[in-house]
Symmetry: C2
Subunit: 371 residues, 2 copies
């Protein structure tokens, strides 16, 4: 089933309003969440709406948080997210980073006491319209094993960086520091398909193709898969994200990160508040004239796009290309929603007494568009 | 053969003095270069000394560079390295980043018109004694293929980050954004051993174990090895390093980076000056009190060190552990030098009429120490 973007947006906003978000916060949270659905990262969009509601019900998410600056210098700040939705806390933190970059060239904001913030790429992209480079990372539920370990210690801990370009579309990197994002594993699980060797290990630390191993004592592997192929580098990157996001901000780190996925137990105690994020904004003209930078970014992008392909049918991509393709198609054709997510949305509609409008104004060509 | 650290240091400094470095610059360049030998990254130490001399002879390295700030804001600067040794330019750039961090919390310096700067980790570590986080990256000779391409477009483009700790030793990450560093391939080549599948591809883009493929139209693979195992993420990380180091600074990027390895031809033209680096320093107390941060870093490190191992004999490591082990052994036992490097050093000694002192004061236990 495909739901028109605007209908899904309206519904999602209603849910955020029902749990007590201000109209402004509900609008922002919806914008962040739907950006994932639009850009083809289905695991991070409305598929998670019911989880946010679940966390709000259990008291872990405050829908009217008091977000405050704990400490700051001209180029840095630490923010207490007030246990708010990460979808709301993150845009505020990024706005502070951007403001600081306006003043002194760069701005860096570490956030504690927050929750899952949606797709990292969205937040990095906020810098682009200010002719800045945007950077963000976040820690997350411990699902990932360090190299040589059979204990889940890190989240998929993504890094996102957005660089503005001139005539070309911007370079937008957004990557989990694991071989495969958890969302990809969820998709395979739904299909009952095996995972490629190198994505996960079982409870004894052996390679496995069984997706269920992840909730049965196994773990996701860091980018690199095994020691011989550089998994210590993926572990290292995930660790860096954890330290920037949480040790620097005062959030929980490593195995203490409060889990988002229901099957994970919580390690006893806390070493900080909530989960942590990290944001950066760098003004291009704090380094070189904007026009010069953009001209060279265009040249960089063209040069890499035209790198000799192995298969003439498969061209080299620029980070962000694939998501832009999805966005183009889905803005017109609607957002594909799998049955289990549709069930979730129906339950939310009933629970909050919201009348979803999908079905009524589905564009006639929606079902013919595939990506 | 093992050469005592101090003898090798004295010899190396003599060579830098002979090519015209000031005593201060020769001392610094030696310190950076020998740090690689001490820390077990043999490919980046005195094994490269003759290459620096070669580049100096061909006019690409200026041993008495005029290093200048081209542009700055309170938290940023762009430095023209004056075609100097990267080993000399980089410490100066890092010092400026640290100075800016003292003033406004963080400092970020992009460098153009430089050359190979040794091990990235050395430069990041300079921040530690100031209770700062140190960050650096650099672009390098195009040896790496983007995902889906058979054209070498990127360097091994390392990222290094150093976090101070309290009682524990610091967390020092230093990683090439490829599956394996080029130095590891060189070691296999010397032994005539095959490379693991996933490190390199041949001139047609097929996986290969033949190390020689790298100089025969093939390329190093980005971290992740292939698309299914996340090579697009390694490509993305390498690309980010290239953009921070060169598009932001005004250096050459992508295939235009002037090659350091002799077998690579130079792509016609230039898109900037020399090669590029990027440096960052972040004052811990610009975020939270130093003591608090260090207490939590200690806890982070202890917790990860004690993560359940798969094999009880192989414990989880903290980035920097392995290099510290090498350093302990080599400071006492001397630096192992393979025959081809020893030949190189002998040639340099003859060429510059330097009397190397090794052999005379070799500690008697040197040959019994192995790592």
């Amino acid at each position: 089933m495909k739901i028109p973007y605007q209908s899904l947006r309206k519904f999602t906003k209603s849910v955020f309003l029902k749990i007590g978000c201000s109209p402004q916060d509900a609008e922002k949270a919806t914008d962040v969440l739907l950006a994932a659905d639009l850009r083809g990262i289905d695991s991070h969009g409305v598929a998670r709406l019911s989880s946010y509601v679940r966390l709000w019900k259990s008291g872990r998410i405050n829908s009217a948080p008091s977000i405050s600056i704990v400490h700051e210098t001209p180029s840095t700040a630490v923010i207490d997210g007030g246990a708010g939705l990460g979808l709301v806390v993150a845009p505020k933190a990024m706005a502070i980073a951007i403001e600081k970059a306006q003043q002194v060239g760069t701005g860096w904001v570490a956030v504690n006491n927050s929750n899952h913030y949606g797709i990292a790429g969205y937040h990095a992209m906020q810098a682009l319209e200010h002719d800045m480079i945007g950077i963000t990372m976040t820690n997350a539920s411990p699902l990932v094993v360090p190299t040589f370990s059979k204990e889940k210690m890190l989240g998929t801990n993504p890094i996102a960086v957005a660089f503005p370009a001139g005539e070309q579309e911007p370079f937008i990197a957004d990557l989990a520091t694991t071989t495969a994002a958890y969302g990809k594993l969820e998709i395979l699980q739904r299909k009952n398909s095996p995972a490629p060797i190198g994505w996960i290990q079982d409870d004894e630390g052996n390679p496995t193709q069984d997706c269920a191993a992840i909730s049965d004592g196994g773990g996701l592997l860091p980018l690199g898969s095994d020691r011989e192929h550089g998994s210590h580098k993926g572990y290292c990157l995930g660790a860096m994200v954890d330290i920037f996001s949480a040790v620097l901000s005062g959030a929980n780190y490593g195995p203490w990160v409060p889990p988002y996925v229901p099957f994970l137990g919580k390690k006893e105690g806390f070493v900080g508040n909530g989960i942590g994020h990290f944001f950066g904004a760098m003004r291009i003209d704090a380094f070189r004239p904007k026009k010069e930078f953009k001209t060279h970014m265009d040249r960089w992008i063209e040069c890499f796009r035209n790198a000799k392909p192995i298969d003439p049918e498969i061209k080299v991509q620029i980070p962000g290309d694939q998501e832009r393709e999805y966005e183009k198609v889905r803005l017109i054709g609607g957002i594909p929603i799998v049955d289990s997510v549709l069930e979730d949305l129906k339950h939310l509609a009933e629970h909050f007494d919201i009348e979803p409008e999908w079905g009524s104004n589905m564009p006639s060509d929606a079902s013919t568009l595939e990506i």
